[in-house]
Every structure is written in structure tokens, then in C-alpha cells.
């Protein structure tokens, strides 16, 4: 980690340190609403990074990542609901289950040569199948949903993630920072380079001795594990889970937006993308509310248009351009 820090130039170090300090100090000055928006930004930066590792680095397109969010959320929520097992333990179950699902999807895809759009369809099918399955799992609440009770007496039990906005703010911030550090480590590691090779040209990668199947599988496993933790966060932050919401394909697409807009395959892409999209989305909703218009779908149309614009005009994302503009030589993907 120290080596990572030393590897960046002075200017970038200053910028990063400043940004981090500002975010850590934010709760002192910001109101609850702003903190909740920031929390959402960090959440999307985190799950976006998880998706970015698999797609941006290893080149495997998953359009069903909501599967891992949902499994992580339900696993930890159910453990709490039925057995009172807190999320700090529950997260391990969440990770295991999500990784198992990822292993199945990965094995089906990579072992049988299902690639490109076919693999993407496979991931969609897996997520949809699970969504419908959970609609019929009564012990998990079925389509009616699972609710974690708000218990006044438990406030302050940070180990059970029962707390106010500030608790979740710092947790989300920690997750987002952790995901950036992890991505930076991986991008420089042997595994990271294997992923890049697989992304660029599988046959050439094989000719260099890389076990392509293993590389792809490790990408799915890492990504699904990371995403599951986001699911745990989601469960204890929102306290209610519905299969139709958490496994839905629009969720899968939603978590892809930040890394794509920010810069696929880059380390800061997801966080930059989240900082752009989430506030704008929220602002749009606030604006329409103020104008008295309550039309569902406005935010999504905005996101769709942004996606089209980015992929058309600046497909490598905002971050590479931004980095050049402010003179950060920074990190190479």
C-alpha cells in the first residue's frame, strides 16, 4: 500500500489527500440530505468498481450483477432476521453465497465457451431466474418483501449497523476508498495483468502461458464477492428487500453507469462517474418535485441519454479526459 502511495507524483498525492480530508470532514458542515446523497455516491462508486474489475480489467461483460447485490443483501438480512447474527459476521455468508453463484455463472460461461453477448445474456438469465425464484421463497418474504425492523433501542449498535446517517456515510466512504485501493493493487499485480491480457486477446494470452479460464474465473469471484458486500450495506441501510427491486435488470444496468461514464478500466472511473451521475440525478428529481411534476422515469431517461452521449462522444469516459485536464499523470490502468 505504501508502495502504491509512493508511486504517485506529488501533485496527485496532494489532490487525493485534499479530497479525502474534505470528505471525512463533510459531516461537520453538511446537512442530512447532502450526506445521504454522498452516501449514495460512495455506494455506487463501490459497486461500480466491483463491476469495473470484471469488465474494465478482465473484459467480461456482466449484465446481471444485481444477482450478487441481491444474494449478499438477502443472505445477511436473513441471518439477522432469523438468528440475530450481525452483518459483520453475516457479510462472510453473503460473500460465500455470492461467490458460489459467480462460480456457477463463470463455470457455465467460461467452461463452455459462452462469450461476448451470449455471456451477457447468460448473466441476465441467471439474475432473472433468481429474481423470480426469490419471489416464491416464502421464508425470505417472497414478493411481499423482507423487512428489517427499526428498533429504537438498538440505535448506536454500530456493529449491527443500526445507526444514523453518519454511520452509513463513513462506512460507505470506507468501502469506496477500499475499492479504489483494491483496484489499484490489482491493476499492478500479476493477476491484473493476466486480466488485461485476457481482455485484449485471449489467444495471444494463452500463447504466453496464461490460464485464461482461471483468470476469468478469478475475475468473476473477486467481483461477485465485492459486490455482495455492497448488498450487505444495501440491506442494512434501506432495511427492506424486494426481489423485484434488488434483482431487477435495471439495478444491474444502474450499477454499470458510473464506471462507464467515469471511465471503463480506470481506477478512478467509477468514483468520478458516481460523483457526476448521482448528484445530477438527485438534482433532477429535486427540480421536478419543486416544479410540481411527479413523473416516474425522468431520472432514468436522463441516465439513458448520458449513457448514449458518453458512449458516442467520449467512450473512454470522463476521468481520462479530466485527469489530463488537471494535470494528473497518475495511474495507468
Amino acid at each position: 500500500m505504501i508502495a502504491l502511495w509512493r508511486g504517485i507524483d506529488r501533485r496527485s498525492q496532494a489532490v487525493l489527500a485534499l479530497a479525502l480530508a474534505a470528505l471525512v470532514a463533510a459531516p461537520l458542515v453538511a446537512d442530512r440530505y447532502l450526506l445521504s446523497v454522498l452516501t449514495l455516491i460512495f455506494y455506487f462508486a463501490y459497486v461500480g468498481q466491483a463491476w469495473n474489475l470484471m469488465m474494465g480489467l478482465a473484459g467480461q461483460l456482466s449484465l446481471g450483477h444485481a444477482l450478487y447485490v441481491g444474494l449478499g443483501a438477502y443472505a445477511s438480512a436473513l441471518l439477522w432476521f432469523y438468528f440475530g447474527i450481525g452483518p459483520w459476521l453475516g457479510v462472510f455468508a453473503a460473500i460465500s453465497i455470492a461467490m458460489a453463484a459467480g462460480a456457477v455463472v463463470g463455470w457455465l460461461g467460461f467452461r463452455f465457451g459462452v462469450e461476448g453477448v451470449y455471456f451477457a445474456l447468460l448473466t441476465i438469465a441467471a439474475a432473472e431466474f433468481t429474481r423470480i425464484a426469490f419471489d416464491h421463497l416464502d421464508f425470505a418474504g417472497g414478493s411481499g418483501g423482507l423487512f428489517l425492523l427499526y428498533e429504537e433501542r438498538r440505535l448506536g449498535e454500530w456493529w449491527n449497523l443500526r445507526g444514523g446517517q453518519m454511520l452509513f456515510y463513513y462506512l460507505a466512504l470506507a468501502l469506496a476508498c477500499g475499492s479504489i485501493a483494491l483496484a489499484a493493487c490489482l491493476a499492478r499485480s500479476r493477476l491484473g495483468f493476466h486480466w488485461l491480457a485476457v481482455r485484449e486477446d485471449e489467444a495471444a494470452a494463452r500463447a504466453l502461458g496464461i490460464d485464461v479460464f482461471r483468470a476469468k474465473m478469478s475475475a468473476v469471484l473477486v467481483s461477485s464477492a465485492m459486490t455482495a458486500v455492497g448488498g450487505v450495506f444495501y440491506a442494512f441501510y434501506y432495511n427492506n428487500l424486494f426481489p423485484a427491486q434488488i434483482f431487477d435488470i435495471s439495478r444491474s444496468i444502474e450499477l454499470m453507469l458510473a464506471p462507464i461514464v467515469g471511465g471503463l478500466g480506470t481506477i478512478f472511473g467509477p468514483v468520478v462517474g458516481a460523483f457526476i451521475l448521482t448528484p445530477l440525478g438527485e438534482a433532477l428529481i429535486a427540480l421536478t418535485a419543486k416544479l410540481g411534476i411527479d413523473i416516474p422515469g425522468v431520472k432514468a431517461v436522463f441516465y439513458g441519454l448520458t449513457l448514449i452521449a458518453i458512449i458516442y462522444f467520449r467512450p473512454s469516459g470522463v476521468w481520462p479526459w479530466l485527469a489530463r485536464a488537471i494535470g494528473i499523470t497518475g495511474r495507468k490502468p
Binding site: L61, I132, A300
Partner: protein
């Protein structure tokens, strides 16, 4: 004694009658499934043409279908025109839309990495479906045709008239399309592009224009299918992603690039969904289709997988 015997015989006859009834119920379900499946098949045909020739992964396929549904619904509501009639102008409009879309936006993406293309179409899909949500709201809107509840009684079967008409129309359009691709010059040229792109260019075919025509045809299929679909289902934005997935499932199960495959796949899926919905539970019917998709993706023979995704 005699009463016992009679009731035993009656019991047996009753059982036979019940079994016969069960069979005819199942048959009813299957026939409805076949008819609905033919409309699905037409929708999938559009995707097969687009995916198979232009090699564009149209993730907005279902969204376009729902637009057509709303178009037909509006025309019916305001001008009281039957979708069987409006499907033709809608098809024409969609052809123009497809042609324009391909020639302008999508053409720029042909050389680019695959995922750029998916993302573009996902974005287009999001804008379309949420645009529809904004305009029409989330509630389902039915087109209340005058014969909407009528059926043809055939033997023990009661087959909805709307399903018969829409299925016949779908078959008619599909046949016209077969004819186009096999017997016309443009159709043959398009098939050449699908077969061997470099060869087609070398022979002097205007690939760009042919692509645009193909995309137009593909969307025209979708438009027609959507117009027909409003006869048997209520228009709602929520249908869009389901239709997209359904089309992909059908195209993959039926075999990429095969038009007959799309229709057969459509019928297969239509029947299996109808049966699954009837035998297990309506809300679980898609599960079967997804499981089928996974099975086909994983197990399909190497030869089909060779196609560029």
C-alpha cells in the same frame, strides 16, 4: 347392488370425461401458446435479421416492440382502427426509423468494440422505455377490440379470435419476408452480406445501404409484431425488457440467422410458457424460459457458437 354398480360405472365414465376434459384444457393451452408464439416469433424474426446480418445486438428490441404496441393502441383509441389494419403503416414507419437509426447512429459503432454497441443500445432502450413511462404512466392499457372476447369453438377447444387473427397476420408477414429474402435481388444481396461481408463488398454491394435496409426490415418486423401484440396483451412499459429477453431466448434457441428457427423458437417458447404458466404458476413461467436459455447457451454445438456475438 345395482345402484353401487351404476355409480361405479358413472364414476368411471366421470373419470373418463374428466380426463378428456383435462386433455382438451391442455390442448387449449397449447394451441393458445402456439398462436401467441407465432407473434413472438415474428418479433424474434426482426432480431434474427438484425443480429444475423448487421451483427448488432439490439438490446432495445423489446422497447421498440412496446412503442409499436402503444402506437397501435393510440390509433385504435383515437381513430378506432383495428391493429390488423394499422400494422402496415406502423411497419412502414418502423422501417423508416430503423433505416435512419442504422444509417446514422449505429453505423458509427460497427467497427468499435462489442461492448460499446451493447451499451449504446441499452442506453437507447432506457430512454425509450422510460419515455413511454413518462408519457403513458406505468399502468397497462388494453385495446378493447370489439371481438376481443370472442372465440372460435373448434371441437372442445375455444380459441380466442384475437390470437387466431394475430397469428395469421404474423405468418403472412413472415412468409412475405421469406419471399423477399429468397426471391428478390436486394434480399439475396442482404443474405450475401450475412454470409461473407468481405466478399459482398468486393463484389460491389453497397453494404452500408443494405445494412440500413436490413435494420429497417428488422424494426418493421418488430413494429408489426408489437401492433399485433396489443391485440392479445395490454400495452405497458414493463413489458419491454421482458420482450427483449424473450426475443433473444427465441433467437438463440431457434438458431441464430435462421428465420424458420425464429418462428419455430417462438412457437416453442410460446407453448412452454403457456404450459408452465398453466401447470406450475403464471408468475413462474419465465423461469422455465431462462433455464432453457442457459441450457442452450451452454450446451449448443460448437458450430453455432462460431458466429461473431
Amino acid at each position: 347392488m345395482r345402484r353401487l354398480a351404476r355409480s361405479a360405472v358413472e364414476g368411471q365414465t366421470g373419470q373418463v370425461r374428466r380426463t378428456a376434459m383435462m386433455w382438451s384444457i391442455y390442448l387449449n393451452v397449447v394451441v393458445q401458446g402456439v398462436l401467441t408464439g407465432l407473434v413472438y416469433g415474428l418479433m424474434a424474426l426482426g432480431l434474427s435479421v438484425i443480429f444475423g446480418v448487421v451483427r448488432v445486438v439490439n438490446f432495445a428490441h423489446g422497447e421498440f416492440a412496446v412503442v409499436a404496441m402503444y402506437a397501435a393502441f393510440l390509433l385504435f383509441k383515437t381513430l378506432e382502427l383495428d391493429p390488423l389494419v394499422t400494422m402496415l403503416p406502423i411497419a412502414a414507419a418502423f422501417f423508416v426509423l430503423g433505416f435512419a437509426l442504422q444509417a446514422t447512429v449505429i453505423n458509427a459503432f460497427i467497427g468499435r468494440p462489442e461492448h460499446d454497441q451493447f451499451i449504446l443500445l441499452v442506453g437507447i432502450g432506457i430512454v425509450i422505455v422510460n419515455g413511454l413511462l413518462m408519457i403513458f404512466g406505468p399502468d397497462a392499457q388494453p385495446a378493447n377490440l370489439s371481438y376481443g372476447f370472442d372465440s372460435f369453438p373448434i371441437g372442445t377447444l375455444m380459441i380466442d379470435k384475437v390470437r387466431v387473427y394475430s397469428a395469421l397476420a404474423a405468418v403472412a408477414i413472415a412468409t412475405a419476408l421469406f419471399g423477399f429474402f429468397r426471391y428478390t435481388e436486394t434480399g439475396t444481396a442482404i443474405r450475401a452480406c450475412a454470409d461473407n461481408l468481405t466478399g459482398a463488398a468486393v463484389v460491389g454491394l453497397d453494404v452500408k445501404r443494405l445494412y440500413a435496409i436490413t435494420f429497417g426490415i428488422g424494426l418493421a418486423c418488430v413494429g408489426t409484431a408489437g401492433a399485433l401484440m396489443v391485440m392479445i396483451a395490454d400495452a405497458a412499459p414493463a413489458l419491454a425488457p421482458a420482450f427483449t429477453l424473450l426475443s433473444f431466448i427465441i433467437v438463440i434457441v431457434g438458431g441464430l440467422g435462421s428465420m424458420t428457427g425464429a418462428l419455430i423458437g417462438g412457437v416453442l417458447i410460446g407453448v412452454s410458457e403457456a404450459l408452465a404458466g398453466f401447470m406450475i404458476e403464471p408468475s413462474m413461467k419465465s423461469m422455465f424460459s431462462f433455464a432453457l436459455l442457459i441450457a442452450v447457451l451452454v450446451l449448443r454445438p460448437r458450430g453455432l457458437l462460431g458466429r461473431r456475438a
